[in-house]
Amino acid sequence: MIVTRSWLQEWIDLEGISMEDIAKTFNAIGLEVDRICEYRVPKKIVFGKILECEKHPDADKLNVCKVDIGSAIRQIVCGASNVRAGLIVAVATIGAKMPNGMAIKPVKLRGVDSEGMICSSSELGLPDIGSGIMELDSSIGAFKLGQQINQNPLFNDDLIEIELTANRGDCLSIRGVARDLSAAFYRPIKEYRVTDNDEKRGIGRMLSLVHEKGLDVNLRYKALDLKELRLPFIVKLRLAQIEEIGSYDVESMMLYVTHSTGVVLKAYRHNFFTHDEKMGKVILGKDEHGFISIKNEQKEIASIVGVIQKEESKMEEGSGTVVLEASYIPPDIVSKKMAESKIKSGPIFYKTSRGSEPKLEAGLSYCIDLIKKYSNSTTFSGTVELSKTFKEKIVTVIKQEIDEIIGAEIDKSVIAKIFKNLGFDTSKSSIDNFVITVPQFRHDIVNKQDIIEEIVRMVGIDNIPSKPFLLQEANRLKDDYSAYKKRSVYRQKAAQSGFFESVHFVFDEKKVLESYGFKTTKNELELLNPIVQTLDTLRPTLLTGLLKAASQNVKNGYASVKLFEIGSVFSPTREEMLKAVFLFSGERESESLNNTGKPAKIDFAYFVQKIADITGDIVLREDTTEHKLSHIYQCAVVVQNGEVIGELFRVHPEVEKAYDLDVTFMCELDFDKLSYESKTVQKRSKYQASFRDLSLIMPKDMSYEKVKETIEASQIPNLVRFYPVDKYTDETLGENMSLSVRFVLQSTAKTLEEEEITDVMETILGELGSKLGIGLR
């Protein structure tokens, strides 16, 4: 919503209040100031009148004018196409400094002296109101030739753009904004005096209204014979300021009046409703969607109330018989209809769905007076109307409730005054109760908290004290804090291990996901309105997002990429699950003295170590993945505490290539399965531990998993742990390999004797020999 100071001045006296105070007040009462713009026409720009205008002898496009600037008559060469004798114009005189920095000096243009410049609106720093010089007229108020134009408020003005919240339709007009200011500044609003325009011919002889019963709408029609309508300068300028313009002059007038008064106005050509140029018939009824449409006898639609006016019914000419319509439809009715069946709407829908001004006659009179002033039109007497009485809304609030919700005591007289200025009737109130009749234009006020909000914004939140809430300990909710904390702990660990946290949208591309073998959201549950095609489904995995990010980082010149993300993924039935994913690509670390400038590449062992540093102990089991992102021979499921918690793999070489990645490893875990229990301390032995290595000869294709399972199954006493430390192959071993396994032996009762150790090792070898057929070299 755009307002200007000079325009507001038409509805409320703002004399003596600075623009800064006005802006501050707007913010304080909930009308957020979005933009302030100053229009200051420079000095030495004066009103002038073009007395003569002749073609320049040596230039086709130039005219030589004699301009009366009060104190003198100046010769000025002008290039505007609309220059002509008789115009009232703004003249930049010698010595004037234009907003663009140009200084006005006497010049010769193609041999002809020119003493000044006739200005266009944009040359003066005003909004562009169309090509050519400004054609001023009486609409700007009284002026004298030679007077500086910046003494006129229109040329020394301020514009404020307000970001209106959706409930404040009542402030979608200059008058509405002035009403709110009137409550804030305790200054009265200037009401428009409805004048009687009665002429001899009555409207009844040229227009009749036929309508269904029970329509929730107020309509009021006036008619006039339009003659030589000229769009006054003030209307042109202000429409440019509010960035609106009608297709035709009559429509521009309607937009201007609507913006000023808040009443929604339309102009129809009379002959749209008649075939014999005499009696017009306006037919009002519900259309197939339940909207209220206005038609002629041929059932052609002129407009849909509160939604749109059809081009065919608009008044194109500045002369001819015109039917003016003021309308009001309750905003909830029109917006509810629109939500049910979406039909094409015009700019008025924005106003009507938020609430336009219900007092129709004031807007209609204002409009007719304005048109008559700038044309030679005559009106028809009387109106044709359909008026429905809407039920009065009354809200009762107890004074104590007001104080309790605000948290401060507000004086009763202050409250009464606020409502009076806002146009609310409080005359039915008693000592303890406020009984408030809500005016129709405030459709947003329905309950007592709405009433309290009005008090809060007018009293000012700055004037409400801050008070700590007094806590009474009650049982806490079963909350998700520990889940949040777990996530935060793992994120910290991952960052400490060298991974960068990234966050991606939960959207991904269905086609790509499916090509890699991921199961995506079922078609019948799929997104209806994705934002772009490449984000057209919910992600079933975090892997692809991280691959894309890694690829981008490689393009940015990173030889080592370490990323992780903990986030939600979705099953085909749209079940949400939390996953953690890690990606490590390229070099292990950055180049440094440490690695003589040649850091090693990431490999399986190094990656697994990194992951275990974050997750705690993990066990890997050979497996393949359901998707096709993994290297089929470097792929494992991750097991923790006997439960599969995710997968870990090298990225398939083809995928690495597709994403321009060097050797890359990834690991995706079910976050909920990661442990977060407090550890229990094991009994520690105070005796020395012994270490023994066995170099086992075993087939190359035998999994270490088997060795491990066999030894574990034997439940050998005093064997604390064991792990592989070396793998060796050469020709003499053929299809076999040598695997060195280190065993740690320790008793909780004593230091083990050599024979006891030998016994344990014998038992292990015996088990391996009998169960797997493998033994020492």
Binding site: T165, A166, N167, D332, S335, K336, A339, E340, I405, G407, A408, D444, N447, Q449, I452, V456, R457, D462, I464, P465, S466, K467, P468, F469, L470, L471, Q472, A474, R476, L477, D479, D480, Y481, Q492, A495, S497, G498, E501, S502, V503, F505, V506, F507, E524, L525, E526, L527, L528, N529, I531, L535, A549, Q552, N553, N556, K562, L563, S568, R574, L593
Partner: protein, 330 residues
């Protein structure tokens, strides 16, 4: 004897000194030879001879020890010099990763409210119309729905446009009093310099008996919170409109970039909008069937906070896993 003092003092290194030691104190060394002469000395002179010789031995020993310590110290110094490194070559940057600025900011906010006794509740991203809109006083035709362009699914479910449905679910599940925050990702169908289809919110809710919760309480906690987040800032409340609160306000802080002087970031107003809040609308309580209660609610965008705290210019860059950005948070 004199020359032997010189020999000790002139030894240039430990090895040379060792040779001197053998020549002097060894089994066949000078002193041994001199003591052997004792038998040839007349008896009356023997005592004097032994005394003189022992004095020499003691003095030579002292000289030797002093010289040995000096030479050893010298040698250690040399050895250390050989190990000298240019420390300036080892200036290094962290090899740790880093937390994402948005997530890290979220942690800080959650920390504040949980220390103020707010419970943390998270919820699902896929929601239904009732919990996301209807129960929050946003009926189907409400113009405020325009503000939140929504992602819908074919089965009329939707992606939550705010974390408020978590509050509705919590209220339906629990009995008052309630003090909670709901942090999480939310979705709106918008994509440009200042909008991404996914971003993060934290919303708070406090519900207690009727008459207990006031706007003044809301003012207190938010002022305190904003000072915790931004330290020395001015806080301003502006009346505003949200369908689920009434009275409602938007909260501004004095611009952290220009200290309220006016700059490009704050559009020369000196203020930055950071929060929305209000007293819970009775219609919301009605939707969850709460009677005789009062409450306040507030909500904020985590990205907005992160961008202000870290002076990040481009919202979209936060969702690209860009190490160039992330490594600055090491």
């Amino acid at each position: 004897m004199k020359e032997w003092y010189n020999k000790i003092n002139k030894a240039i290194n430990i090895d040379a000194l060792e040779e001197v030691r053998i020549a002097l104190f060894g089994k066949r060394g000078l002193l041994a030879t001199e003591f052997a002469k004792m038998k040839d000395v007349p008896n009356e002179q023997k005592a004097q001879f032994a005394k003189d010789l022992n004095a020499h031995k003691q003095n030579l020993m002292n000289e030797f020890t002093a010289k040995k310590i000096a030479l050893e110290t010298e040698a250690l110094k040399e050895a250390m010099k050989a190990e000298a490194i240019d420390v300036s070559m080892f200036s290094t940057s962290s090899s740790a990763g880093a937390l994402h600025p948005v997530m890290e900011t979220m942690d800080r906010i959650v920390e504040y409210f949980s220390s103020m006794n707010f419970a943390v509740k998270t919820g699902k991203m896929v929601e239904d119309d009732f919990h996301n809109f209807e129960a929050l006083n946003l009926p189907k035709y409400h113009p405020a729905r325009d503000m939140q362009d929504t992602f819908y699914f074919k089965d009329e479910m939707l992606l939550r446009t705010h974390t408020s449905p978590v509050q509705i679910r919590t209220m339906l599940e629990m009995k008052p009093p309630i003090r909670m925050i709901a942090p999480g990702a939310v979705f709106r169908r918008d994509y440009d310099l200042t909008h991404t289809p996914m971003f993060h919110q934290i919303e708070g809710l406090l519900v207690d008996e009727v008459g207990k919760v006031s706007f003044a309480n809301l003012k207190f906690i938010l002022e305190d919170f904003l000072k915790y987040m931004f330290s020395d800032v001015a806080v301003r409340f502006r009346p505003s409109f949200f369908p689920f609160t009434e009275p409602s306000a938007e909260v501004d802080i004095s611009c952290v970039f220009c200290k309220g002087e006016g700059c490009r970031v704050c559009s020369h107003t000196g203020w930055l909008e950071v929060l929305g809040c209000g007293i819970v609308d009775p219609n919301v309580f009605e939707a969850v069937n709460y009677k005789d209660v009062s409450g306040y609610a507030f909500g904020l965008g985590v990205e907005r906070f992160a961008m202000l705290i870290h002076q990040i210019g481009d919202l979209r860059s936060l969702f690209e896993g860009d190490i160039k950005l992330l490594e600055q948070f090491q």
